[in-house]
Every structure is written in structure tokens, then in C-alpha cells.
């Protein structure tokens, strides 16, 4: 009964039943005031074991209030107002297979079936022949196989079922089904609601359904006729609807081809398309933006025109997503259920809070439950039901966890006004752009040529402090220490060859003898082991007291060769000792 520390004490643990036996997804959960007494109930389409035990369950508070059997697996569940009768009690629509089952006062009220699809003519002919006894099941199988390979219109479910049967069961199957006409049905993949003409909370809503045949239908809530049909390039998996049917609306649909399409009132084709790098898991609208969770463990924000705003990486794969809207506090965020037993709350790309759960959360629903506006309802993989209530005093601080642009970036720079000079220059540049570019390119070429010439000259006269000759690759640098009049000159010589030592080298200096005196103007270099740095020291004394300096040239020579391997020019510093004296 106490609040856990991990979520910062923002949520009160109202209820947790680990063995509620509730197996469902976020699309099959809704909150609605089903009895008109101001207390919202939780309506759940329970998937049971996946093949049996599908139920429509209604919870009030902590207790199961009612349950009724569903005939098929629910693909989606919504509560919506279908008429203007008082008291205002919403109906519940459960989409399963090709049908929508509408419940009023928790009793079956209406069943809507999607219109059938076009049937393959050849297939129809073949079954006609079977009915008349002209062909046997084996021939039928052959003919259907060939139709399946070439036909534009896919086969019906019955023919596909027949093709998958073994030889022994074929006869029986044909006898059982041959009298009925062939029908091809699509199935509903997702369902949503769209307000008809008013934006009121209890306004009449149309049903919006997405089907396996890549169509989106909008149904009239009273007559259950198709008001509008739109087609998509791929089968939809989840959708978000906003707006009003009579005014303007937007249907954001994530599809099985990994794209998100945005449909609008005017056209029956998608207006915008968002191409994602990986498949979408969930789709949630926050204000005017759409937040998409992807299989690459990322959360991405888009504008309603499909412009990408941000992307953030999550710590685990996304299992489910839901919107968290708290209109009384003007708070909107996205709840993301992750595979590592966490439910994270994001406002834009900022993580606001994390709820640790004892099991992986498979469905999330946030809204008014009972009399409490901020209630979070979650079901877990193991069939548990968890209810948390947002504390009245809870506040989410929106600190930016990701390093974004620094604050200073948004400070406006004091850009000076455009001067006449600036404008003239711009005009000149605009008019003589070509000539200026040519002149620049010409000068640049000249510069490069001059640089290359100087480099070649330096190489030819071995003026560089680096020798890249194959036999004696050497590197040298020189350090002058001291204030004067005597200086210490250190030459660091390195053999840069990989494994060959260098022998028979010598160092010689060239200098103005009226200015400097050197203790040993010629030195022999011992064998140079590759890689090691050899320091050679010598002392230079400045004999002039006029405060002038000169260049000392250093040569590294190979015995028996007149041209140096390396040359270095050392700019001697002014002897400060002399000037002080």
C-alpha cells in the first residue's frame, strides 16, 4: 500500500492483482462511464488463451463487474457515444474478424459486417463445376493451384483451406462446402473513434476501422453505413484519429510496411507519408504531434505533416504505448511499456519518471477510472491487473536529460544593420561573381605552384629537417637553451627506418665566426639504432655585445658525400646576458 521509491513517489498503488487472468493489449482496453453515474468503468477485450476464453470484461473499482463471451479474438475495443439519448451512456464496439459487435448497457445490440471483397471468377467457375459433379476433388486441387499462381484476385479462405488439406480429408471438405457460394472477407486490424460534428466529450462519434485489405472505413454511428472509404498502400496496424468528421479530421495510421500515413478529410489517399527506418510498435498523439515507438528501441516525434522533430533511444524494446492526458493540469505525455519490466513516462524526448513493475506490462490505459482522473491501468504478461493513481501533489519537472544545444545558443546576437558599404559589396559580388571566382582560383593556383616550387627546392638541397631517402631516413630537431652569452644547443636525431641502423654520419655547423664561437663545430655520430632519439649537445658562445643574433646552420652529412642529408637553420636568440651587462 505504500508508494515505491523508484518512481519518485508520484504514484499511489491502488490495486494489484497478479492473477487477474487478464490477457490483453492496449488497443483492447478503454475507460467509460457505462452506467451514467459519473464513475468510469474499465472495459477490456480479454484474449483468453488466444484460441478460447475470449471475453468482454468490465471492472468497477477493484472488482470484476460483468463478463460476457466473445465469439472471436478481439482486434480492438472502443467505447463511443452512438446517439443523443439521455442519460448519456456510451456503447462499446468490439472489432473481431470481419465484424464489429456493438454492446449497449453491456448487452449485444448490433453486429456490423464489412462488405465482402471481389471474388475470383475462375475460382467461382471451378466450384460451380464441382457442384454440378463435373470434376473430382483432385482436379479441383490442380485447377485451384494454377489459379492461385496466376490470378490477380487472391483466392477465398475456403479454397486456401482446401489446398492445405491432405488427400483423405478433401472429399469430405468438398461435400460439406460445395453448396455454399464463395465469399471473400477481409478482417479488421484496428479501430478508432472520430467525433461526428462536435468536439464535446460526449458528442456522437463515428467508428473508424482499418482492414487487412488496406482500407480505412468511417462508419455512421446510428445507421452503421459506410460514410467514407479510404485506401492505404499497406495493411494498417494501429491508428490515431483526431478532429471531427463533418469539419476536418486527420487519421494517422501506422502500416505493416513500416510507414506511417496521414489521411485527411478531402482525399481518399494518404496526404503525407513518414518512412521509418524500422517498424512501428505504437503510435500516440500528443497535442499536434505524433510519437512513434519503433522496433529499434527508439521513440520518435513527428509533426502532423510528417516532419521529424526528435528521436530518443530507449533502454529496452517497446512492448506497448499509451497517451497520458491530464486536461485539468494541462499535462500531456507518453507512457511506454518496456520489455525490462519498466514503464517510462516521456514528455517529448525527456524521461520524466520510471515505474518499475513486477512483470512485463503488455497494455496501458490512462484516464478517469472510478472518480479519479489520473488513473493508470496496466495489465501484465502473466495476466495481472495493476492500478496506480497519480498523486494530487505529484509534479513532473521537465529537465532535459539529453545534452542539447547550450542555452547561450538561443541568445539573440546583436547583429548590426546592413551598411551601404555592405550592400554595395554584395551587389558587386553578385555582378562580378564569375570574374572574382576566376581571379581567386588563379591566385590559388599561383600560391600552390609557389609552395610546390619551394618544397621541391628544399627537398633538392636537403634543407628539410627530415630526410626521407631510403637508405638514411632521419629526423632531427634542435633546441636552444640559455639566456646568453653561452647557449646550449641540443640536437635530437632519430633514425626513422623500421629496422636498419645508420652508420658513418657526422654533424657540422656553419655560422658567422665573428659572432659565435662553438666548442666543437664538427661531431661524429655513432651508429643510430632505429626508433631511438639521440641527443647531441654542444655549447655556443656569443662573442658580440651589440645585441644581434644570427642563424646557425646544421648539416648532417654522410661520410664521403658532399651534399648534406639534412639541413636545419637555427634562429639564435639575442644574447640577453650581454645586454644586461
Amino acid at each position: 500500500m505504500s508508494d515505491s521509491g523508484s518512481d519518485g513517489g508520484k504514484w499511489l498503488d491502488a490495486h494489484y492483482d497478479p492473477v487477474a487472468g487478464l490477457y490483453t493489449f492496449s488497443s483492447c482496453m478503454d475507460l467509460a462511464d457505462l452506467s451514467g453515474d459519473g464513475e468510469s468503468r474499465l472495459v477490456v477485450g480479454d484474449l483468453g488463451s488466444g484460441s478460447s476464453g475470449m471475453k468482454l470484461k468490465v471492472y468497477r473499482g477493484t472488482a470484476l463487474m460483468s463478463e460476457s463471451i466473445l465469439l472471436d479474438l478481439p482486434a480492438g475495443l472502443v467505447a463511443f457515444f452512438m446517439d443523443l439519448h439521455e442519460p448519456r451512456i456510451p456503447a462499446v464496439a468490439v472489432a473481431s474478424g470481419p465484424c464489429i459487435y456493438v454492446y449497449k448497457n453491456l448487452r449485444p445490440y448490433f453486429k456490423f459486417t464489412l462488405p465482402g471483397l471481389e471474388v475470383n471468377m475462375l475460382e467461382q467457375d471451378v466450384w460451380q463445376q464441382v457442384r454440378e459433379g463435373q470434376i473430382d476433388p483432385l482436379t479441383l486441387k490442380e485447377m485451384l493451384e494454377s489459379i492461385r499462381k496466376q490470378a490477380d484476385v487472391p483466392l477465398s479462405v475456403r479454397s486456401l483451406r482446401f489446398l492445405s488439406l491432405d488427400g483423405s480429408d478433401m472429399d469430405e471438405f468438398v461435400q460439406l462446402h460445395k453448396q455454399q457460394p464463395i465469399r471473400r472477407q477481409t478482417v479488421i486490424t484496428c479501430i478508432g473513434t472520430l467525433k461526428k460534428s462536435t468536439a464535446d466529450e460526449d458528442g456522437v462519434s463515428c467508428l473508424v476501422i482499418g482492414t487487412e485489405s488496406s482500407d480505412v472505413y468511417i462508419l455512421d454511428p446510428e445507421a452503421f453505413i459506410i460514410l467514407s472509404k479510404m485506401s492505404l498502400p499497406a495493411a494498417p496496424t494501429s491508428m490515431d484519429v483526431t478532429g471531427q468528421f463533418d469539419v476536418e479530421f486527420r487519421i494517422t495510421v501506422s502500416c505493416r510496411n513500416g510507414n506511417i500515413y496521414i489521411l485527411r478529410r478531402e482525399s481518399d489517399k494518404p496526404k503525407y507519408c513518414i518512412e521509418l527506418s524500422s517498424h512501428p510498435v505504437g503510435l500516440v498523439r500528443v497535442g499536434k504531434n505524433v510519437v512513434v515507438g519503433c522496433t529499434d528501441e527508439s521513440l520518435q516525434g513527428f509533426t502532423q505533416k510528417g516532419k521529424k522533430l526528435w528521436r530518443t533511444v530507449l533502454s529496452a524494446p517497446i512492448i506497448t504505448m499509451a497517451a497520458m492526458n491530464l486536461p485539468t493540469r494541462g499535462f500531456q505525455a507518453v507512457l511506454v511499456g518496456l520489455a525490462n519490466c519498466e514503464v517510462q513516462l516521456y514528455r517529448d524526448k525527456n524521461l520524466l519518471s520510471t515505474i518499475k513493475t513486477p512483470d512485463v506490462v503488455t497494455s496501458i490505459c490512462f484516464g478517469r477510472y472510478g472518480r479519479e482522473d489520473g488513473t493508470l491501468i496496466m495489465t501484465t504478461k502473466g495476466g495481472g491487473l495493476m492500478v496506480k493513481i497519480l498523486k494530487r501533489t505529484a509534479e513532473f519537472d521537465d529537465r532535459d536529460s539529453t545534452p542539447g544545444p547550450p542555452l547561450a545558443q538561443s541568445v539573440r546576437l546583436n547583429v548590426p544593420k546592413k551598411t551601404k558599404l555592405y550592400v554595395d559589396q554584395t551587389l558587386r559580388e553578385r555582378e562580378n561573381g564569375l570574374a572574382m571566382h576566376r581571379a581567386f582560383q588563379m591566385d590559388l593556383s599561383h600560391l600552390r605552384l609557389a609552395a610546390a616550387k619551394a618544397y621541391v627546392k628544399a627537398l633538392e638541397s636537403s634543407l628539410t629537417p627530415m630526410s626521407s631517402s631510403l637508405t638514411e631516413p632521419l629526423k632531427m630537431n634542435a633546441v636552444v637553451q640559455g639566456l646568453g652569452p653561452s647557449f646550449k644547443l641540443t640536437l635530437n636525431v632519430q633514425n626513422t627506418a623500421a629496422c636498419r641502423p645508420v652508420m658513418n654520419l657526422a654533424i657540422s655547423f656553419l655560422y658567422d665566426e665573428s659572432l659565435y664561437r662553438m666548442r666543437s663545430p664538427y661531431m661524429r655520430i655513432p651508429l643510430l639504432v632505429p626508433g631511438l632519439i639521440y641527443p647531441f649537445e654542444t655549447f655556443v658562445e656569443c662573442t658580440s655585445d651589440k645585441g644581434i643574433s644570427d642563424i646557425i646552420k646544421v648539416f648532417i652529412l654522410h661520410e664521403g658525400k658532399s651534399s648534406p642529408l639534412l639541413t636545419a637553420h637555427i634562429n639564435m636568440p639575442v644574447s640577453e646576458g650581454m645586454t644586461l651587462n
Binding site: 500500500m1 499511489l12 498503488d13 491502488a14 490495486h15 473499482g61 477493484t62 472488482a63 485539468t328 477510472y369 472510478g370 472518480r371 479519479e372 482522473d373 492500478v387 493513481i389 498523486k391 494530487r392 501533489t393
Partner: protein, 210 residues
């Protein structure tokens, strides 16, 4: 206190005035309880309600609309004159409660025994109340009404006190009463306890003053 005031107090001519705060979540029955206490008070003067008038008090209870902000009700018992602040329990008005803590002499906290889900919310509000600086250091009596006992799935008063962890309140006199505000059951019993506590605390105060 002047001599005359004391004298009138002893003679029972002038009743001592106390401020009582009535708190609790929305839809717990605060206004219904206060409305029940009013006619119950009148009945002391006019005699018990006759059978044909009983439905009036009941319809009264049913027509109650959610309180906005708060209501002030005054009624008298045998020894005290109560001024009750019937606060709204809706979450958007709950931040008003704390402004009245200072002037109050007693608190009535009403709980919907049938609302298991929101028991945590009631506990959260109670804890905030008891930890408030104007309440924490005072030995203010707190009366709990485990209301709506008529509901089929209502919890017992013992269970309610467990869920609210009332045993942890050690520095204040408290008492829990099972009640059914629509019929008025259990209300008088609670009020009697409250009167006793207030009388005791004023006696203590007077002793301390003397």
C-alpha cells in the same frame, strides 16, 4: 474570559463555540453527514421526526450535488455550538483544506468504505493532513466516519482503519465510527465522542491557564 462569560458558561446559557473541519474525498458523504446532523439537532427541540416526514430527509440526501469550494453550517448540541466547514473533496479543491487547519478545533474525516480503489488516495490525503505544520504539533481530536456501510461491498470500520494505518496516530485522540449517512446511523455516536474530546481538551486548557 470575563466573569460574566464564565458565569454564563457554567449556567449553560452560552455555549462554547467550536470550529470543526469536515474533510474527505469527493463522494464520501461529507455534505450528507452534515445535513443529517442539522435536522438531528432540530429533533432535540421538536421531538423525533414523524414517519411521514422521514422521506424528506432521505430525498434531501439524494439530491446533494458535489460541493464547490466549501459550505459553512452551524448547529448546536447540548453543550457546544458547532461551526462546521464542509470542504469540497474534489481533487482540485483539496488544496483549500490547509487554509482552515489553524482555526479548527476538531476534524471529521469521512471515508467511503465501498471505494477500495481510492483508499490509498484517502490515506495519502490523511497523511498530508496529519503532517501539516498546523496540525502536527496539536492534540486535535480526529473523528473518522467509515461511511456508506449500507453498500454491499463496504469494508468494516476495522478494515478501513487498517487500510488507513490509523494505529500509527499516537499523539492525537482519534475514533472511528461506522456510519450510514443517508439513514443517519452512527453519526450521533461519533458526535458524542467528539463533544467529549472537545470538552476534555478545553478543561485541560483551562487547567493550564490557571
Amino acid at each position: 474570559m470575563g466573569l460574566l462569560d464564565k458565569l454564563s458558561g457554567w449556567l449553560g446559557l452560552r455555549k462554547k463555540e467550536v470550529n470543526v473541519l469536515c474533510l474527505g474525498l469527493d463522494n464520501s458523504g461529507k455534505t450528507t453527514i452534515i445535513n443529517q446532523l442539522k435536522p438531528a439537532n432540530h429533533s432535540n427541540h421538536l421531538g423525533p421526526l414523524s414517519e411521514e416526514w422521514k422521506h424528506v430527509s432521505q430525498t434531501q440526501a439524494q439530491e446533494i450535488v458535489p460541493t464547490i469550494g466549501f459550505n459553512i453550517e452551524k448547529f448546536k448540541s447540548s453543550s457546544l455550538s458547532f461551526t462546521v466547514f464542509d470542504m469540497s473533496g474534489q481533487s482540485r479543491y483539496r488544496n483549500l483544506w490547509e487554509h482552515y487547519y489553524k482555526e479548527s478545533h476538531a476534524i471529521i474525516f469521512v471515508i467511503d468504505s465501498g471505494d477500495k480503489l481510492r483508499m490509498v488516495v484517502a490515506k495519502e490525503e490523511l497523511d498530508t493532513l496529519l503532517n501539516h505544520q498546523d496540525i502536527r504539533s496539536r492534540k486535535i481530536p480526529v473523528l473518522f466516519f467509515a461511511n456508506k456501510m449500507d453498500l454491499r461491498d463496504a469494508m468494516s470500520s476495522v478494515k478501513v482503519s487498517q487500510m488507513l494505518c490509523l494505529e500509527n496516530i499516537r499523539d492525537k485522540p482519534w475514533h472511528i465510527c461506522a456510519s450510514n449517512a443517508i439513514k443517519g446511523e452512527g453519526l450521533q455516536q461519533g458526535l458524542d465522542w467528539l463533544q467529549e474530546q472537545i470538552a476534555q481538551s478545553t478543561e485541560n486548557n483551562e487547567h493550564m491557564n490557571e
